[in-house]
Amino acid sequence: MMREWLPSRRARETPRNDAALWVKCPKCGEVLYRRDLAASLFVCTRCSYHFRMSAYDRIASIVDGDFTEIASEVLPSDPLQWSDKKSYQTKLKSDAENSGLSESVVCGFATIGRFPVALGVMDFHFRGGTMGRVTGERITRLFEEARRRKVPCIIFAASGGARMEEGMLALMQMAKTTAAVARFMEDGNFFLVVLTDPTTGGVAASFAFQADVIVAESKAMIGFAGRRVIEQTIRQRLPDQFQTAEFLLEKGAIDMVVDRRELKEKLVRLLEYAVREPVSP
């Protein structure tokens, strides 16, 4: 892919459904100018609320320059011929239009701080970041290719879990990605995951928590079961702090919580320990 991919892709900015020039911070209520928000990596300049980020915005915020996407030709279909209010095909189409994505993950290769890496970025704007067959297939190919190239793999997770509309074939992606991750790691390659808001269900419970180092973005909601499910089960309201990145850090589940504005620098630092041989520029 050419160097020009970034500006064109970046034209679509988060949050996508709001076409206006101004965006209101859902946490502090501050009204933010969209361009300023993008410049601060979609972090509220007043209260540091982290807006959910689109995959290509994320990639642009992390890579040194080029990003060579792989497996973009792998496109979702409708194995269960699912239809409820709308058909699954229709949902896929409308999500594709709204998000500019063809599936819930974008995979490819890039350099970060001059380190060649495999990079997979999930996007909550496409089917709530759920993992369907193509999500699993793209991630699997990424790990397989990263294993061949012997480069570290970084995944940005954001997911509501396995995708209902693909039934068990979606669930099986947990098995498939896990197997690919295991092979990749058995060869001594480095796997780092960044958990972003939200990371739950089948994605949390497969490749995301198999990483060598688990980074989470500030205040990201991370868990296995959804908050609503737990509240229904225990019949009481959960504390606000429950299932946040900060909560998980205290509970020993993750390695660190990082503010998005410091994330790239942190990733480069971590790569320097694990790889120790950046390519010359």
């Binding site: 269960l80 039934g167 197997a179 497969s206 995301a208 928590f209 868990g223 429950f242 020993g252």
Partner: protein
């Protein structure tokens, strides 16, 4: 009234069964020949059975899979030639919703691990309705690693609504526990055979089901989410569970066609609990056959075949993966 459809249906049968038994008794005590009458009643009984259970909808199968009398993991494990239970995750707790240990299956030493729901309310409370906590998945990983070390095949029985969704399970990193379990099964250097014997709910079920050979009982279900959960998530309306059950393709036939399941164990008319003895025997026979076949492979062959199996599962291109019955 039971909230289980199948249990409800069985209530009418009980009266008929009682009458047949009474007639038989009377017939034995009297010189009068009532065999024609008995035969007639039995024919009617069988006809009703066929009508009630001859063709179960996905939603009916969901209820069959949850039937309180359906054989549980321990009903299978107790029919192994021997079982020595091992306990604990070595860190925090022994989770009673996972039962595991050494066993002999026909003269072959194996590691058996099963999800265990209760067979009554009290046991259900103790076993958390068969929903494992992280400690249960960590026990599972530990036993699978031990099996791999000792070169024992692993046999699992899957029967869970899903992983426990409680507060302490989140606090103890349920995601990590399941993720490690998956990784352990994906890399275990021994044959793995899994049997879906009841409800196979979501990632909490899959954690015990990455296997070289997956068996599934005819009326078991295996699903990305419970129908209720799916309906709640997609339509914010759990009462649409029946519709979700139909859409999710959670039956053994569907999953066999998708390649998620390798072999189906036929159940007696009316479900496994109507002849548990026979179902367990045939299931263990099938497990034994698979283990025997897989035991001839080297660890490398096993791992390669397992990788390729899951690699191909749900491959994006294959239009042929669509269930034949639903093709438009």
């Amino acid at each position: 009234m039971s909230n289980n459809l199948i249990v409800e249906r069985e209530k009418g049968l009980v009266e008929l069964e009682r009458r047949i038994a009474e007639l038989r008794e009377a017939s034995a005590a009297q010189p009068l020949d009532m065999s024609a009458e008995i035969a007639g009643l039995e024919e009617r009984y069988q006809a009703i059975l066929r009508e009630l259970f001859g063709s179960l909808s996905p939603w009916e199968k969901v209820h069959m899979a949850r039937h309180p009398a359906r054989p549980t993991s321990l009903d299978y494990i107790s029919r192994f030639d021997r079982f020595d239970e091992l306990h604990g995750d070595r860190h925090y707790r022994d989770d009673p919703s996972i039962v595991g240990g050494f066993a002999f299956l026909r003269s072959r030493a194996v590691m058996v691990i099963g999800q265990q729901r209760g067979r009554d309310t009290r046991e259900n409370l103790r076993r958390n309705f068969g929903m494992p906590a992280p400690e249960g998945y960590r026990k599972t990983s530990r036993l699978a690693r031990l099996a791999s070390r000792l070169q024992l095949p692993v046999v699992t029985f899957v029967d869970t609504k899903g992983a426990d969704p409680g507060i302490s399970s989140e606090e103890h990193a349920q995601s990590e526990a399941i993720a490690v379990c998956l990784q352990t099964f994906a890399t275990a250097r021994v044959p793995i055979v899994a049997a879906i014997i009841g409800e196979g709910g979501s990632g909490g079920a899959l954690a015990l089901a990455i296997a070289d050979h997956v068996l599934m009982l005819e009326h078991s279900t295996y699903s990305v989410a419970s129908p209720e959960g799916c309906a709640a998530i997609l339509w914010s309306d759990a009462s649409k569970a029946e519709e979700a059950a139909a859409r999710l393709k959670l039956t053994a036939d569907d999953l066999r066609r998708f390649g998620v399941v390798d072999e189906i164990i036929v159940e007696p008319l009316g479900g496994a609990h109507r002849n548990a003895q026979d179902v367990v025997t045939r299931t263990l026979d099938a497990v034994d056959r698979s283990v025997a076949r897989l035991s001839s492979l080297s660890p490398e062959e096993l791992l390669d075949e397992r990788y390729e199996k899951y690699r191909r599962l749900g491959e994006w291109q294959a239009q042929s993966l669509q269930p034949a019955g639903t093709a438009q």
